[in-house]
Amino acid sequence: MDLKLEEVTQLFERFKSAFVRNDFGACTDVLSHLKVLLTKFPSLPPSYQETPNAVQELTIARDIYEHAVVLSVKTEDQDAFERDFFQLKPFYTDTCGIIPPSPQEYPILGLNLLRLLVQNRIAEFHTELELLPQSALENPCIKHAVELEQSFMEGAYNRVLSARQTVPHDTYVYFLDLLAKTVRDEIAGCSEKAYDYLSINDAKKILMFSTDQELSEYITEV
């Protein structure tokens, strides 16, 4: 094993231990250091040089970016998520011949779909979906996101909210919480048009508030 690879591996171990401890500050620091080191690997996208260490380099780089994506979810940073995801994507699309597929692939792709849904970028959602093979749609992580989109389009909002109980992966919770907020706004918009009148109690139930106070706060806010 050559020196650079050695260094990256060691650093990555440190990152992982910090990651397990949920010390996100340290993680971010190590990560930015790691990313700089990764630029020195010639076998990574976009150059794909066939070096003797290519397989190890690609595998570890992919692993690092996967962790980076998950980290960005945990730190609730959507911009970082997008950046890291785009860095990770070439590994999924263009390295299938070189290294074996990652077990994390579908959870992360599903996460990305969810992000697009939350940000209401439906066109991109469908563009990403087209890239997936038929078999991927059977995967619980992908299926979850696809079904969410459907319920969302139909207007079956309570199904969207109940999806939170059936998350296939714990990182999904963050986006589902965000989605819940979007859904509440949607419901409010629909109710405005659909009901002539609505009692406070019913409104509370429909908009999923537990107290009258929360409801009145929300009403004044909107």
Partner: protein, 487 residues
């Protein structure tokens, strides 16, 4: 067979002695002289004609004819000659040409112009593809592309654009399209720099096809939106472009634009290109369903398309009735067809429209209905159908699909009385869109008129007038033929 008729008419006017039916080789020689005069006079039109004549000969090509032809046209020592003859299969049968031997003896041809060299590549490539020798075809096309890069002549462009097409086609047949993406991009850049608009058009389409083959809609759209656009030169390329554009827009949920492109593509496509029309119609049907329109029955009953469109017909039926159960059955029944058409994901999107139509039917037929009944009629199979129905109805009301209110306390939906449509400006809008369509059609027809290059010159001598008339006749024929051409 327009091709044969055409050739018969041609024969007497050329130098071939009458009575004998002209052989393929002689036809090829005529084409060569056409190319030569075209190249000397810098008349692109002649070369277009030459290429079209070649396509008519396509089915008559034999290895023996081709090798004789190569011997006739290319200098025997040249690189192209060596390469191309090595690719041709060594003689199958000698039945065809009586005069093959004679023409070879005619001796080495004079200096070979680049147009002819490229033409030789093209004709060999077509032959190889027709013979299903795809690996040789790949080798041949790659060699020709390498050669093309070093030639910069406007008169080559026409032949080159055909060559690009077959280049990509040979790679598609061997399922290795991804390999040539870089080359195609480089060629497109080169064509843009040289202002070769036909080449740009062809290459842009090939690139879009390349991307869409791998479902890379994002890249395709980025390229499409940034590539330079201009008046289309070739109807076929324009049809293809519209089709790809329609596909991209469908995926990105711009249904109205997608519908326009797809329908236009289907309408502009020549009658002979039935496969293409079927594809366009399939996509157009789905897009219209997604828009909430129901395509007319005549769409599915078009000649020669009935069988291919059956799955889509049943799908339309399910959407029209608004029956989720039936929709599911149809989607399952034809899932094989839908996934091979790569429309599966679009079908999934349709579920929403099925519910909408069902809801609209209910709201028209009932003035008041309980939510539980709505859920049952829509056959929503979920743990909490009433709550689902309520939010679905609420969303439909907000989106303006139905005109109703919900009474939450009593749990029912009350439809509002539908007023007289003619008291609104609905009819006006409908008229407006139809008038706009007609005007647009008229404008496009006017724009599509073609005039010979020097028609605006006044006062012409007898000589030039005769020439002009001849040109016009050719042009008329050209336009008539174009629709039958390639695809």
């Amino acid at each position: 067979m327009t091709a044969d008729v055409e050739m018969e008419v041609q024969a007497p006017s050329s130098s071939v002695p009458s009575a004998t039916v002209p052989s393929t080789l002689q036809h090829l020689k005529e084409i060569v002289s056409l190319i030569e005069t075209g190249a000397q006079g810098k008349e692109v039109r002649r070369i277009v004609r030459a290429v079209r004549l070649t396509m008519m000969l396509r089915r008559k090509l034999r290895a023996s004819v081709l090798s004789a032809f190569l011997g006739h046209v290319l200098p025997s020592g040249s690189e192209a000659f060596a390469k191309l003859s090595s690719l041709l299969p060594k003689d199958d049968e000698h039945d065809m040409d009586v005069d093959t031997a004679a023409s070879v003896v005619q001796g080495p041809a004079k200096h070979c112009i680049p147009e002819l060299e490229i033409f030789c590549y093209l004709i060999v490539l077509i032959y190889l593809i027709d013979q299903k020798r795809y690996n040789e075809a790949k080798a041949c096309s790659s060699a020709s592309i390498a050669r093309l890069r070093n030639i910069n002549r406007r008169t080559v462009d026409v032949i080159a654009s055909r060559l690009y097409f077959y280049y990509s086609f040979s790679y598609e047949l061997t399922n290795s399209l991804a390999e040539i993406r870089g080359t195609l991009l480089a060629l497109h850049r080169m064509a843009t720099l040289r202002r070769d608009e036909l080449g740009q058009e062809t290459l842009l389409n090939l690139l879009l096809r390349n991307y869409l083959h791998y479902n890379l809609y994002d890249q395709a759209e980025k390229l499409r939106s940034k590539a330079p656009r201009f008046e289309a030169h070739s109807n076929q390329q324009f049809c293809r472009y519209l089709f790809y554009l329609g596909k991209i827009r469908t995926i990105q949920l711009e249904y109205t634009d997608a519908k326009e492109s797809l329908l236009q593509a289907a309408r502009k496509a020549p009658v002979a290109a039935r496969g293409f029309q079927i594809q366009c119609n399939k996509w157009a049907v789905i897009v219209r369903l997604l828009l909430g329109e129901i395509p007319e029955r005549t769409v599915f009953m078009q000649k020669g398309m009935k069988k291919a469109l059956t799955p889509y017909f049943e799908l339309t039926n399910a959407v029209r009735i608004g029956d989720l159960e039936l929709f599911k059955i149809v989607a399952d029944k034809f899932s094989g067809t839908f996934s091979s058409d790569r429309t599966h994901n679009l079908i999934v999107r349709l579920r929403h429209n099925v519910i909408r139509t069902g809801l609209r039917n209910i709201s028209i037929s009932y003035s008041r209905i309980s939510l539980a009944d709505v859920a049952r009629k829509l056959r929503l199979d979920s743990p909490n159908p009433v709550a689902d129905a309520e939010s679905i109805v609420a969303k439909a009301i907000r989106d303006g699909a139905i005109d109703a209110t919900i009474d939450h306390a009593n749990g029912w939906v009350v439809s509002k009385e539908t007023g007289d449509v003619y008291s609104t400006n609905e009819p006006q809008i409908a008229f407006n869109s139809r008038i706009a369509f007609c005007l647009n059609m008229h404008n496009e027809a006017v724009r599509a008129l073609r005039f010979p290059p020097n028609s605006n010159k006044e006062k012409e001598s007898e000589e030039t007038r005769r020439e002009r008339q001849q040109q016009e006749q050719e042009l008329a024929k050209h336009i008539a033929e174009e629709d039958d051409d390639d695809f």
